[in-house]
Subunit: 326 residues, 2 copies
């Protein structure tokens, strides 16, 4: 199947074609990479559709899988098509993937209008970021209405996800007041919506208190121009009892609609595109030091520097002259 | 004065020549840069002397200036020549320098065998790092026995200083047990010696408790191969009463002697040289994006990407092709 055909099938909503395209995007083989770039370029022309890209972060134990399953089923019930992607920089280390087992979202994975894709095992967060960004574009071209991009709160992965989402949602578990400080200020400032999960049974009262604590903390943050009155917001949900999910979606829609009307939606996507362009250029520039003759020359010069035969500055100049001459 | 003459005067211990050379090293003018590189290269051949490079970090209020003055005077009393340099990434912002006012170390600055140099006002930590590294090399060539590299604990500046020091010393003030957590784990792991200052008068008992707390915390860290038995260590000093300074220097010497004998001293310097070489190459590669035609092309492509006329990936490829063709 050539690139053109693959693109057509994706636009027609063929999930197997989509899965195949994402595999292409994940490959590090040069010929695959070329095809992937051509495919995304072909799709960019074919579709102007915008999905709502929702970034979702939550540490293990907050009930993220259950939430995505319940939330996804609710969206399907409203006639929306839902794709779920994951950014998990730890998956390379652990050998597995946070979404590796589709039984984690058993109901959702059986639905025709849902698409679930585990995180690829790539050690480099930059590689995971590009693959996920491209997979989002593919899902959008395939006509999904909502693309959920899931991450565990590890290192920089939340920033990566926020930089490719229209809205960023933080899923939390009910907890005592002390644990409020466990959420880093930077993450709080990225959140558009905080969902306190497990607001059911014995934990209901704790969840309500936690929600109030975070609502208070959010009020202390500086008002952002991209937010309508009342946002960022903290609300309670119960993924298990499928409670509060409709309201969560209504809040997200309110936010997205407001941002679309005021131009913040497009401005954010434009800023994100600029950001990823800069990141790709910088990463590619640095990557040339890691392979082939450049790598060998780096090692050679590093030995001269370590042995005191050359200063770091002179060696760096030699290296750069060599790169320019190559 | 040509480079050769300047190098000779520096080796002869001429402090004005040294000050002039550091000014050269701090300049961003291309011809100054060329001369600075040539000068350091010339000096590398002229002297094989190694100073003890001591990195010293402490937040404002711990009595860093008083400590450096007292400690420096004590070293002079032992017949050692002492240079003091500073890495202060905030100095560009605040407009001043943590060492700008030599009256801060009035006694030391009047001594013939001491040399004090304030932090340059450069906004970029990379630039400050290179300048300081080169200034350390100049001080070493000028025959100083001890080079103190001072920093406030802001952002990455501690890492920068640790990466150019033979030993890294953390200066702390007496404080309640709660504040122990204020020192980040990463900083604790870099420290070879913790000095709890102000162990005098009313604060003496608190200082002793603080010292015991940190000694306990250090024992919990994993033993590092570069440490003799008992290190890293926490001790009390009083810069004001000039108490414990000799012991601090004895501890530092014990550490340095042990590392020299076991090869860790040279291994660390070699690793640092490799590190700075890599940093310089990477910084220079990325810096080419910030000027001239490349900068203009980046802006142009970023606009195409933001406007949806090109994907970040395709734009990045175009940019890199352009750089290679240039």
């Amino acid at each position: 199947m050539d690139t053109e055909q693959l693109a057509d099938r994706i636009v027609a909503g063929d999930r197997r074609a989509l899965a195949r395209a994402i595999t292409l995007v994940e490959s590090s083989r040069a010929d695959h990479r070329d095809r992937a770039v051509a495919l995304i370029e072909a799709l960019r022309a074919k579709t102007g559709k915008q999905a709502v890209r929702i970034g979702l972060s939550g540490t293990p134990g907050v009930g993220k899988s259950t939430f995505i399953e319940s939330f996804g089923m609710m969206l399907l019930g409203r006639g929306l098509r839902v794709a779920v992607l994951a950014v998990d920089p730890s998956s390379a280390r652990s050998g597995g993937s946070i979404l590796g087992d589709k039984t984690r979202m058993e109901r959702l994975s059986r639905e025709r209008d849902a698409f679930i894709r585990p995180s690829p095992s790539r050690s480099h967060l930059g590689g995971v970021a590009r693959r996920t960004r491209e997979a989002v574009a593919l899902c959008e071209a395939a006509g999904f209405d909502v693309v959920l991009i899931e991450t565990v709160g590890v290192g920089q992965s939340e920033t990566v996800v926020a930089e490719m989402s229209d809205i960023f949602v933080l899923l939390l578990a009910p907890a005592g007041g002390d644990e409020l400080q466990g959420v880093k200020r930077g993450i709080m400032e990225m959140a558009d919506l905080i969902l306190v999960n497990k607001a059911d049974g014995e934990l209901k009262a704790t969840a309500t208190r936690t929600q109030a604590d975070y609502a208070g903390a959010l009020r202390l943050l500086r008002k952002r121009p991209q937010d309508p009155e009342g946002f960022p917001k903290a609300i309670c949900v119960s993924a298990l009892q499928e409670d509060g999910l409709e309201r969560a979606w209504d809040e997200m829609r309110t936010l997205v609609d407001w941002r679309r009307e005021t131009g913040h939606f497009d401005a954010r996507r434009a800023a994100q595109a600029r950001y990823w362009f800069g990141q790709e250029v910088r990463q590619a520039l640095l990557a040339q030091l890691e392979t082939g003759a450049a790598r060998a020359r780096m090692d050679e010069l590093a030995e001269d520097v370590a042995g005191g035969r050359m200063t770091p500055t002179v060696a760096a100049q030699e290296m750069l002259d060599g790169l320019r001459g190559a």
